[in-house]
Each structure stands twice: as structure tokens, then as C-alpha cells.
Symmetry: C2
Subunit: 114 residues, 2 copies
């Protein structure tokens, strides 16, 4: 059993692929012995965004705070706290902060993503 | 891609094994074609609790709101919004609401749990 406040987990910048203002905390990961999937907390600064990309693994996302837009091949959808986003493998996707405060969301990936 | 507010996902009561005041929403599950793991939102009414039990699969939990206590074989730990709980396979565990408002948390499980 591991119990920890998310804010106390070490944070690092996400760089490359056009990411801007993005930070990540690995809340539950390989080092915890998680056997199947990993939980990460992303924060995106106002005006920032994750890479616009696709990959073979899925994302399971829960928006915690802020005002975001999810961009896909089909367009853009506004998201806010309490919204759930399931990005299937192979889908183009990007999360952008369009508000004035931090955008915060959980994003879980299968172990095979890393 | 699926984008939906969590509150709009159908809710059902969790019954049996001593559960009290517990409701579940399957935010991302089998019906969405999730290939590896599933995201559920639990709400526990004041005074309520999940079963005190163990099973072979893990839980990856993020507390969204309320005042809770996690009970294990080793004792009890208070949890609140922003806390992360990793329950490994085989560990005895229970989530109880010790506050005056709803306890809300995400709890993700591997596909093999169901």
C-alpha cells in the first residue's frame, strides 16, 4: 500500500514533440511495482499544450481542474473538471490549456506504453 | 475518442460484502473497448464504506473530494482530495467516509479484474 499526496510526488518538465508548459508527475508507476498500468498527473500552464501526436496505446484521462480543449483529427472539444476522455490507440490528440489557471488532469497508460 | 462528463455516466449501487452507501460509475470500461484497464468513479455517503476485502488485482486510486479513511491490515490512514492510493494485489483494504459530505474517488482496475 502506498498513500501519498500527489503534490509531493516529484515533478518534471515534458519536452519535445511541440509540448509547451507541460509538467508530469508519475503518481503510480514502474517504481511502485504497478503490474498493468500507470497513473500520471499532468499540469499545463495557461497557453500551453501537450504534443499533437498519436501512438498505439490508449489514454484514460480525468480532468481535475482548469479549462481545456482536446484537439483531434475531427476538431476541438472543450473540457473542464469532471470530464472523462478516452483516447483509443492510434488517435491523434492534444490537450491545450485555454483558461487563465493551470489545467490539471490524470492520464493513465498501459504498462506497454513505456 | 469518448468525451463525457462523469456525472452523466449511469450510476449503480454497490451491494454485498458489507458495502454501505457506495455507488459506482464505470467511466471507461469494457463497453468502450478499453483494452487494458478500466476507470470507475466511486461515491460513498457519509458514514458509508466499501467492503473490507482483498483480491488478487491491484487498485490505483485518486481521491477527488471528501474526507476518507483507508483501512488495511496495518491500521487506518486519513485521505482527502489529491491523495493517491496504490493497493497492491492481495492487500486487505477498505475505504470509509468519515466526513459530512460525499467521499468521491477514482479507482482503476486491470481488465483481468472483471
Amino acid at each position: 500500500m502506498k498513500i501519498q499526496n500527489a503534490e509531493k510526488v516529484p515533478v518534471s518538465a515534458v519536452e519535445g514533440q511541440g509540448a509547451e508548459g507541460v509538467r508530469i508527475r508519475w503518481l503510480i508507476g514502474k517504481d511502485d511495482g504497478a503490474p498493468n498500468f500507470y497513473m500520471r498527473l499532468f499540469t499545463v500552464a495557461p497557453g500551453g499544450h501537450t504534443p499533437l501526436h498519436s501512438h498505439k496505446w490508449e489514454h484514460e484521462v480525468y480532468i481535475l481542474a482548469g479549462q481545456g480543449v482536446v484537439r483531434t483529427a475531427d476538431g476541438r472539444t472543450a473540457v473542464a473538471a469532471g470530464d472523462v476522455v478516452f483516447v483509443t490507440g492510434g488517435e491523434l490528440h492534444q490537450f491545450a490549456n485555454v483558461g487563465g489557471a493551470e489545467l490539471k488532469f490524470l492520464c493513465l497508460v498501459p504498462k506497454t506504453a513505456t
